[in-house]
Symmetry: C2
Subunit: 115 residues, 2 copies
DNA sequence: GATTTATATTCCGATATGGGTATACGTCAA
DNA sequence: TTGACGTATACCCATATCGGAATATAAATC
C-alpha cells in the first residue's frame, strides 16, 4: 500500500513543497489561479491540480467570480498538524533548556576547548 | 518528478501515518526496535525502514546497546514544521475570534433556535 | 453563435513509495 | 564454533504521485 491518499490527509497534502508555497502565497489574501501561476512561475494545470488537492483536504476554499476562481486559505485546516507538533514542542523546549544549562555552565567554568 | 524525497524532507517523513505513530511511541522515551514492533503490531522490517527514514531526516537518533538499537526522538527536528504552521496560527486564531464574537452575540440575543 | 479568457480535466510516462518475504549482519551465549 | 536473538538490507510488486501536453468546460465579449 502506498502512502495514505494525498487528497485525504492534511499532513500529506502539505508534504509537497509546491503546495506549501501556494499556501504561503494565498496566505496574503484571496487570489485567482492565474495570480498563483504568475507569482510562482508554474504551469497552470499544475497549479489547478495542487489547488484541487488543497481544496479536498480543506486547506483552501474557493469562490467563483466571473470566469475567475478565487482561492483563499482556510488556516484552520492546519490545526491537526499544529496540534500534533505542539505535543513535541515541550520535548525540544526541554532539550533547549538543558542546552541553556549546559551553555551557562560552560560560561561560568570557562570554555573547555573549541566546539 | 515524484514527490520530494521522503528521506530529505521532514514534512514528507512525517506525512506517513505510521511514522507519526512510531514517533508518538518513541516520545515516551528511548526504545529498542522490537518495542515498536510489539507495541504497534508491525512487521520488523517495516519498522526498521521507517526508523531509517526518521533517522535520515534527523527526527530520531540511535544508540547501540548490545544487540539492541535504542531509538529516541529528536523533537527539534520538527522545528521546521512548527515554524511553518505557527505562521498560520494567527490566521485561524482570527477566525476563531470572529467565531467567539458570533457566539457571544448569539448568547446575548438569546438562543435563536436549538444548537 | 463565435471567439477569447480563466480554469479544470484527462491521459501519459517516469519515478519512488510502502508492504512483504527472504536473507544478511552483528552481538551475545554456550 | 555454533546457535539464538535483534536488527538491517535486498528484492519484488502494486500503486499513486508529480509533471507535461493536449483538451474540455465555463463565462464574458463581440
Amino acid at each position: 500500500m502506498p502512502r495514505a491518499a494525498t487528497t485525504t490527509d492534511v499532513f500529506n497534502a502539505v508534504a509537497e513543497p509546491l503546495r506549501r508555497r501556494i499556501l504561503d502565497f494565498l496566505a496574503r489574501g484571496e487570489q485567482p489561479v492565474n495570480a498563483v501561476v504568475d507569482s510562482l512561475r508554474l504551469c497552470q494545470p499544475q497549479v489547478s491540480k495542487h489547488l484541487g488537492v488543497l481544496k479536498q483536504v480543506g486547506l483552501v476554499s474557493v469562490r467563483g467570480n466571473g470566469r475567475q476562481r478565487l482561492y483563499r486559505v482556510n488556516a484552520e485546516g492546519l490545526k491537526p498538524i499544529h496540534d500534533w507538533v505542539m505535543a513535541y514542542e515541550k520535548l525540544w523546549a526541554d532539550r533547549l533548556d538543558r542546552l541553556d544549562d549546559y551553555l551557562q555552565r560552560l560560561q561560568s567554568e570557562g570554555t573547555p576547548d573549541d566546539r
